[in-house]
Symmetry: C2
DNA sequence: CGCGGCTTTGATGTTCATCAAGTAAAGTGG
DNA sequence: CCACTTTACTTGATGAACATCAAAGCCGCG
């Protein structure tokens, strides 16, 4: 019974990630994590971790939306990717260094769970099925990021923009209508082009009836055409 | 004694990767791998695996140099990275899909070791320390690839070229003088620019006394300046 | 030897960054 | 809540970076 009570206090039942992530952990291991974990909320625009921070805790995104980006003095920000829960941005580079390689910033109000790294490491080394699962997830998420990056690199401006808009529509919001969680400048940093040209391309997409746009509000009007641009544009 | 004989037949003693990779395997597990492993040689320009191939074997590069690239009909080749032994290109995406996401092609005569994937998977699930080591390596190599890709994305043409030349000098050949293992076209595919402009930039580097170049032979003459260009160019 | 791919150079045009300047929106302190 | 400041957005004009096209020499290979 006491276990049951602890589990309930833990509130992990509602976590989307629980089933996937902890499938291989024993009940008592789950409780260890539950009891040790710390949940933190972040507002839009708040840094969750910063490049160079010492890495002490394992964390995963429970709710919200974040950008993974490289902040360098003397040059523009570069956005590596935008990730939502289950994309598991958190595990990128976690095992490769003592320090974060990237900065992670909330784009929408977000909730993050922290677990002491040593606990995760000890599970991963003791419980091979858990470690294997972790490895699979790590591999999948980095694969997607890398393929996305190569796609964006290949395309020219309008193709990049179409690609990013469709990522929001298809992958992130799963809807043709949504509020952009990023500024024009951030779209530019993601695409690797200038802000002005993102604005011009958005205006042209509107003129060509591919999208409807007012401020942050976007509606995809011609997905087929936009998809074509995102592949060959 | 028989074990000893098998180990010797295996010829893994000379493998650079052995110590790193199999640190956590038991003697008998090592022997399993030794007995099951197949060594294959590839000539320059030969495909080691192709995008879309069904993934059946775990493989690692024992000797040589390879490019990881995306081959698409209707668009130029894109080189993701160039990897040597210990860079462990082999494990990228191995756990994320049944199929190879990229094509791997030898740039120099190369030797690859294949091990049946189910054996590696069974080790990874039974032997957590092995799995953890594998995960760490996977994470490190993908991190490096991703950071490199973002660097190349940020730079303009001469910066990209300087970056790539320095990768050969510092990371791959560890020498100021070396024979280019790639064509000008491949440098262009790696940088994401046109072949002609790579040639023009090479000519300009030569004119500015940054490099000496005759055919495939390269010598870095002014590494400081080239490094500066590779950071801010 | 001749064919195809690699290399090189020049000329031309397109894509895109940059600069400038102004409007709108959003945050800040009184 | 309003004045103020900053940040985001937008449009136009200009020039730089770069792709593309064309043409010719080179080299390795069947």
């Amino acid at each position: 019974m006491e276990k049951e009570v602890l589990t309930l206090n833990c509130q992990c039942e509602n976590c989307q990630l629980r089933a996937l992530f902890f499938a291989h952990l024993q009940q008592d291991e789950m409780l260890d994590i539950c009891n040790i974990r710390k949940e933190k909320s972040f507002e839009s625009n708040e840094d969750i971790v910063r490049r160079g921070d010492k890495f002490r805790e394992f964390f995963y995104l429970k709710e919200g939306l974040v950008k993974l980006h490289i902040v360098k003095s003397g040059s523009e920000d570069q956005i590596i990717t935008i990730a939502k829960p289950l994309d598991f941005i958190s595990i990128l580079s976690i095992f490769s260094s003592d320090h974060y390689q990237y900065t992670v910033t909330a784009l929408l109000p977000s909730v993050v769970c922290n677990v002491d790294m040593s606990l995760i490491k000890s599970f991963a080394t003791k419980n091979a099925a858990f470690g294997f699962d972790l490895m699979t997830r790590l591999s999948k998420s980095t694969d997607i990021v890398l393929l996305e990056t190569m796609d964006l690199k290949r395309l020219q401006l309008k193709g990049k923009l179409a690609y990013i808009l469709l990522k929001f529509a298809n992958h992130i919001f799963k809807s043709e209508r949504f509020d952009l969680p990023v500024t024009r400048k951030e779209i530019a940093e993601y695409a690797g082009v200038s802000t002005e040209n993102i604005i011009r391309a958005l205006a042209e997409f509107r003129k060509d009836q591919l999208i409807r746009i007012s401020g942050k509000e976007i509606e995809i009007l011609n997905k087929n055409r936009l998809t074509q641009i995102s592949k060959f544009g």
